[in-house]
Amino acid sequence: MYSEKVMDHFNNPRNVGELKDANGIGQVGNSVCGDIMKIFVKIEDGIVVDTSFKTFGCGAAIATSSMATELIKGKTVKEALRLSNKAVAEALDGLPPAKMHCSVLAEEGIKSAIEDYYKKQGIELETVLKADEE
């Protein structure tokens, strides 16, 4: 049912746990739907220098948290914001169709953590995204 990559990231999750010196934290999902992801980011000079996660959820939720944090580590904030759930799923060699909704949380979790970082600087994420487009 799950690819070997998913099982690897589930069994040996990367970047798991709280990031003590995080400057952006986002939590998405809710316990009613079954998966909750908390993403920590540490951003310096526009780069995600470190990131971690804590997740309540199924195998796919834990594996996508692990993979998503791997994919944004060391990347620019702009690149991190562009990470899609499809890209996370592809990096895991695919997810069963019923599990795609779990990967959406990873994308949302990262956005939410970065949004929190900007909010703490008194900046709205919207304005960052707009400036980006121009």
Partner: protein, 392 residues
């Protein structure tokens, strides 16, 4: 499967040696079609009739009341849809429960779309229905009561005998899905007032894809399958001879040893329950006393069931969960919600189902590994962190 601890016997069981031995001739030399007149055909026919006799004896029925099917799902579908068709002049109201297997639940929902009305009785925390509520749900147009003998997720055994009594007092037919019960607890259709009963081979160490429907004599149930008129015209299709023979051998073996098995298995089950409910923020699901001998079912707070199942698999242990993410929908199982568990707790369900082939070592290993698995998942759960923050 050597080295693996199999604790998912409610999902399916390993074929028993005696079932395999009984089947082997019919997978090889004795391949005849039971409908033919020559010797190999007669051998096959005899085997099917002997199997029918054994199954009848195992559940207190007469051989002519047993019809072989392709499993529990077919038996449930046939019993319910055919009763609905048979009794539609009398009425279109059916009574069932909120904790039935999908084979019953979805069949009833298909009837609802065709103008039938279904009352789904709620259950208490233990998974029991109220007989008072059942009585008052019966109407003049009620044609069928269908209530499972024992639940597949939480192991609760329902008061089938009393339900049958109430049904018969009101002149209503009574069907019971006994797929999880047959071969595991004593069943007697006559004493238990059952008109229709579904059973399935692979839940008691018989083969998969073969089951039976007991239909009380005198009940003129419409055919479940049209064709060559096998099974006295009610269920056509060339008989699954090896399957039928294997089912009967497994069932005969199960009922012969039922007392010893029940004692052995429930001792191991109770050890699992005692050990695992010691884990903080865990609880047993289902009736603490009236439960299947082999079913130990739990919820563990702040973690999700599928990830528990995957980590158990990592440790060579097979178990299952009724969590949303393991069911492929956004909701945890309807059974866990029906017993009043909030969504977030129902997500953390785990079901261990053992049988007489498990050993005390299996139980010890499970009890040794589980706390670590739960702690590992709780350590990465933001809910666990919140829960501990509340306490402080």
């Amino acid at each position: 499967m050597s080295g693996i601890i199999y604790a998912d016997n409610a999902a399916t069981t390993r074929l028993s040696r005696c079932a395999l031995d009984a089947m082997m001739p019919f997978l090889t030399d004795d391949f005849g079609n039971p409908s033919t007149v020559y010797a190999p055909g007669r051998t096959a026919k005899k085997a099917v009739e002997s199997a029918r006799f054994k199954v009848a004896a195992a559940i207190g029925a007469k051989p002519e009341e047993i019809y072989f099917t392709a499993g529990g799902t077919e038996s449930d579908n046939w019993a319910i849809k055919s009763t609905a068709a048979l009794k539609k002049e009398k009425g279109k109201h059916i009574i069932s429960t909120a904790i039935e297997h999908h084979a019953v639940l979805h069949t009833l929902q298909s009837l609802q779309k065709r103008g039938y009305e279904v009352t789904f009785l709620g259950v208490d925390r233990a998974g029991n229905i109220s007989l008072e509520e059942l009585r008052s749900a019966i109407r003049p147009d009620t044609i069928l009561i269908t209530v499972m003998t024992a639940n597949n997720e939480i192991g609760t055994i329902l008061p089938v005998k009393e339900i049958g009594e109430i049904a018969h007092e009101a002149g209503v037919l009574f069907h019971s899905d006994a797929v999880q019960a047959v071969g595991h607890i004593p069943i007697n259709v006559a004493q238990m007032n059952i008109d229709l009963l579904s059973l399935s081979g692979h839940k008691f160490k018989g083969p998969k894809g073969v089951g039976a429907l007991y239909v009380k004599k005198g009940l003129r149930l419409p055919s479940g399958m049209h064709g060559g008129a096998q099974e006295r015209g009610l269920r056509s299709g060339t008989e699954n001879v090896p399957g039928i023979v294997g089912l009967a051998a497994a069932l005969e073996d199960a009922v012969t040893h039922i007392d010893a098995n029940m004692t052995k298995v429930s001792v191991m089950r109770d050890a699992l329950i005692k050990g695992l409910t010691k884990i903080p923020h865990s609880r047993l699901t289902g009736d603490p006393v009236n439960r299947l001998p082999g079913t130990a079912s739990f919820v563990f707070e702040c973690i999700e069931g599928e990830s528990m199942v995957l980590l158990l698999d990592q440790n060579g242990i097979c178990a299952s969960s009724g969590s949303a993410c393991s069911s492929g929908s956004l909701d945890p199982s309807h059974v866990l919600l029906a017993i009043g568990l909030p969504h977030e707790i129902a997500h953390g369900s785990l079901r261990l189902t053992i049988n007489e082939d498990n050993t005390q070592e299996d139980i010890d290993t499970i009890l040794e590994k589980m706390p670590r698995i739960i702690q590992r998942l709780r350590d990465m759960s933001p809910l666990w962190e919140e829960k501990n923050a509340e306490v402080k």
